[in-house]
Subunit: 280 residues, 2 copies
């Protein structure tokens, strides 16, 4: 049975089809238009070409409202409160399963990646923003809205340049304000991937991500934290975060495993798995 | 049908019977002996006197191991790894439901207190230590062990005396190190309840508890945070925490309601409710 997957982002949408969540096929990019209906029309055209599919999993950038199936307070004004789930359902006439991009990515890693068999873990992505999906006792943690763990309040590193206030427009120096890709770029005037391994940047980055890991560990007691996304693609970073988190937790509790995600497209894999669930 | 409840603490055990979780009856105290078998014998004698009961809910101080039904790494050496659940089962020959004291208290507030009808909330208790129970999507959050949110890493208040390093033996100035009853006593040389409302102590206390509320909000997206325990019995404190948390979150998201628990004995009420569940 062929399933569909859409990963909706603020810059681009990725579409895929497939029957196995571990293998999204025919991955194509659709630019996120300022006119949502235009983007949706391109997504529907994709499924007309590469389908038919029996259901679609939609992994959306957030914040989202699960009731209405829409993106809520994005700075991309035309997308504010746009009922993206309903728009796809109306165009495709098949079930559309709706999740945040990060929750879908967590599910993808659980079904086909680094969290297989794990019922208690967190998927964190560090890129333009910092976000995460949580599975606890086998269930997504949603609550009133959904996790927004990029805005954890963190302590500043003692060697942090005092002039650097952090890039979060709401909090300045929250986790995202200090450790996202744009934070690194603004602080060091260079893209993270161009900074050498022994640069102070990585000491600071590991310090902030380790705080997030400790805070997640003491709140959720997960077995595993997956650190993914652009910034954390640095192979040396996971080791530093592990060491730093161990230092911070001071032997009080056994930290969860801290590892990298395993899938090339965890969001698309999760979306395929969600589409499969929608048919059960 | 009569049910039993035990709230096991490091200083005292409270025992109760009742048929309605909102009303634990015949509440009696048993001192926590250095010989666990002695304490258990007194608890069993209590139920022989005030029973018979059909099941018991056991709300235990932690950290606990759910598999073995024991308290694990307590500084009270004779209680380390003592199989408290099995000891009660063997003595009473009835089902014993086992939870942490804070998770039981959360459940009590959900069944009969301030969180009725709420499926996504956190119960935090601030006293000798700081701990909490989490219900997310109607399920207890447990994970590998259980939440240990007293050890969230917090930022120091700018007016915090530099000489005060915090009282947590593992982390110094984590949440519990800065905001527990012993932290207030050590910092101000006075018990929290003797400090006037306009004392700097309460500004600092609200600052640390607000950070915990924001961190819990961005990780769990709860609808409600109940702040209970000795220190937070100060009527003025909840308002200050609300204001401080709103300032910290900077309008980024709608904070959960922050309120006081409603029950006089949330742990015993939760234990009665757990006993009832055990019979279903």
């Amino acid at each position: 049975m062929k399933l569909g997957a859409v990963e909706a982002g603020g810059t681009k949408f990725l579409c895929a089809v497939g029957s196995d969540p571990s293998n999204p096929e025919q991955i194509r990019r659709v630019d996120t238009s300022t006119n949502p209906l235009e983007t949706i029309a391109e997504v529907i055209a994709y499924f007309e070409r590469y389908g038919p599919v029996s259901a679609v999993g939609l992994a959306s950038f957030g914040p989202v409202d699960y009731c209405s199936g829409s993106i809520t307070s994005t700075p991309k004004i035309p997308w504010q409160n746009f009922p993206i789930r309903a728009a796809l359902e109306r165009g495709l006439h098949i079930p559309v399963a709706f999740e945040t991009d990060v929750a879908a990515a967590a599910f993808g890693e659980q079904v086909a990646g680094a969290a297989q068999g794990c019922q208690d873990f967190v998927y964190v992505t560090v890129g333009t923003g910092i976000g995460g999906g949580i599975i606890s006792g086998g269930h997504f943690v949603r609550g009133k809205m959904h996790p927004e763990m990029g805005h954890l309040l963190v302590r500043r590193h003692p060697e942090e340049p005092a002039s650097f206030k952090g890039v979060c427009p709401f909090h300045g120096d929250c986790l995202e304000g200090m450790a996202s890709g744009p934070a690194m770029r603004e602080r060091w005037n260079a893209a993270a991937e161009t900074l050498p391994e022994d640069h102070l940047a990585w000491t600071l980055e590991a310090f902030y991500l380790a705080q997030a890991c400790v805070d997640l560990a003491v709140v959720l007691s997960p077995r595993l934290i997956l650190l993914g996304g652009g910034v954390s693609a640095q192979a040396h970073l996971h080791d530093r975060v592990r060491r730093e988190a161990a230092r911070m937790v001071g032997g009080y509790l056994e930290l969860p495993e801290i590892a990298a995600p395993a899938l090339p497209y965890p969001g698309l894999s999760g979306a395929l798995a969600l589409a499969r669930e929608a048919l059960r």
